[in-house]
Amino acid sequence: MSEAPKIVQDRLRASVATGAHPDADVLTAFAEQVLSGTEREDVVRHLSRCADCREVVALGLPPMDSVAESQVARENSAAVRPTTNVGVRNWFVWPNLRWAAMAAAVVVVASVLAVRPGKQNKSMVDAVNQQAEQAAPSTYYANTKPPAPLADKAAVSAGSPSKSDTSLALQARKFGREAAGARTRFQPSLVPSPSAADSAAQLANDKRSNLLEKKSSGRFVPESLPTVPQIAGAPASGGPVAKGLSDQVIHSSSEAVEVTSAAVELQPSRTDGAMMARNEAVAPVEKAKPAAKEEAHRKAQVEDNSNYGQPANAYSTSEAASALKKQRSKDLPAQWSLARGKLRRSVDAGASWQIALQVEHPLLTFGALGSDVWAGGQRGALFHSTDSGTTWTIVQPSTKAGSLSNDIVGIEIHSATEIALTTGNNESWTTADAGNTWDKK
């Protein structure tokens, strides 16, 4: 930075503003970028000559980690990754995305270069099996002690274990004893989780279990399992429970690698789970592509339960890549974020963002559940999309007493039809029919 001559500083200091100081309202509006035209020019002119007002404006600036930013970050984490809110800040800024994109590119390139279809790296298999052996004692009671830090983190981020966890765990333990005395494992990862990242982490647990299963040479009887998904209440679309149960036979020792690298790509923000996943993915990254096929094959098996336990056949690398790509594009929900009052959407796991909704007044909050997206803004502005933001409908919540006219500051989506809104004056508006009728509290 070139230094100004001292005479310039002296003459700047010597010139004093004439006239009255702008009042606090005008200074606030200036700092909030509300003023325009001559009004703004007048304020800047005054500030350029008035050290006192410059100091007031500087002191009046909110801290860098202002409430608005943290709110946006919180909303991002709530909408995109409901269960992974550990240490979430506004990571969806370009400097971070740049590194995330670079890391993703490195992982993809390394995977493509390192894949050897039909040929396994024996040393790597041994290493993974050895690791699995070490983890085996702790995974025997995996329902109470997850076997690996990854599972631990995933469980922590998913919140406290529910009742279904316990019942599932008990059944799993019982089943494990019955299954020919072998060390059969069930893990908390079998409980469904709405988060894509968590699903990846759970998939990693499943795969780890499978590795252990193979290594411990225990006989596994998949036919005795089908009742378990019903207990866990897995979603019909093939949730983690179905995944975990449908693929009980190990196909490749590199499966966990793919899952963990997927977790890295799915989560540009550095949550603990993703960090752990990244750490685990460092060594055996060469076998990512076969695992992709495994994942695609696993999905196919979910749809056809009669295929329990069948190993994957030989396949080509390109097939695996396309299967993975197709599967991801189908499975990954759009990610949403709010920046500068505009709702942005990413359909590529945060690598790029497009403005999905921009209205006259800035949007303040949003909520997303699947393809259902709600966005709220100032003065009761509420928008709803049922197709992931392709088309939007203006919704005007109203009751007999009146309509919603205050700023909408919070949106909670309990289901596709049950929505709750919070306004700036602490009103609560709820609907149980996707916005057709509303109740105000």
Binding site: A4, V8, L12, S15, D25, T28, R54, E55
Partner: protein
Amino acid sequence: MPAPAQAVLSDEKAFALHERCGAAAYGLDREQFASIVRDIQTKYLPLASPDEAADFCGALRLEELVLARGCAAGNERAWQDFISRYRGKLHAMALHITRDAAHAAELADSLFADLYGVSTRDGMRRSKLVFYTARGSLEGWLRTVMAQEFINRYRKQKRVVSLDEQEKEGAQFVAPNPQPVMAADARLEAATDEALAELSSEDRYVLAAYHLDGRTLAEIARVLGLHESSISRRLDRVTTTLRKRILACLRERGMSHAQAKEVLETDVRDIQLDLRTRLAQDSAAKTFPGGKVSAPGAGTDGTHV
């Protein structure tokens, strides 16, 4: 020439705004609300067409305005809402401004008392919230008011210093300023003033904030709503342009290019600063390095000016 007509917000539009912002919840009826909004409009936009007046009033932070005015009028619900929303923030703001917990508590409590209205006028409690006009956010206004209060207090404290404290700090015995302000070349001052006058207000603000106030590029960028790198580039550009303009103005005043450059580069304050540095170095060095002794009366080279 007849003065332009002053248009105020129509009753119909004022009542619609009253309905929209929920002013009734804070005890403001339609007439009171319309009066408040019109006062604000005539203060900031005295000469406006009806449409401009409506646009201006529609862009105000009306929800926060009615909250503030409800508080000023002593509405209980308004105070409940205000306290639930801003009480905690006031302390956080004060801490951000003062960087000291004790002073922050004092400043926040003082402002809160002002907002509540401790002072009375004509037997009526006078709340500071009545001055909020909703051009910006209420939270931002509270920050600004608190910053003003902090600066005023800081000044008062600087002015009122007891003699004991002065004695303790040795202020009584402070030597007179060892560097009397040396007058710069009058032509240089005039040339600099002329060059500064040609700058835009924003450029001048950037220069003053950076060089006089010591603000960071990020802070300046946030105030102006620009990116930090833009401010950096602008500072470089303005400084370079300014230097060229001062040289040009000096040449217009009869100096040659070399003379103008010399006057600008070798400012008397710079010479003095160099001299002080040089003297400090001399005193730290060996008295007679290399066994050489200067001639009597000549002194060392650094002491000659």
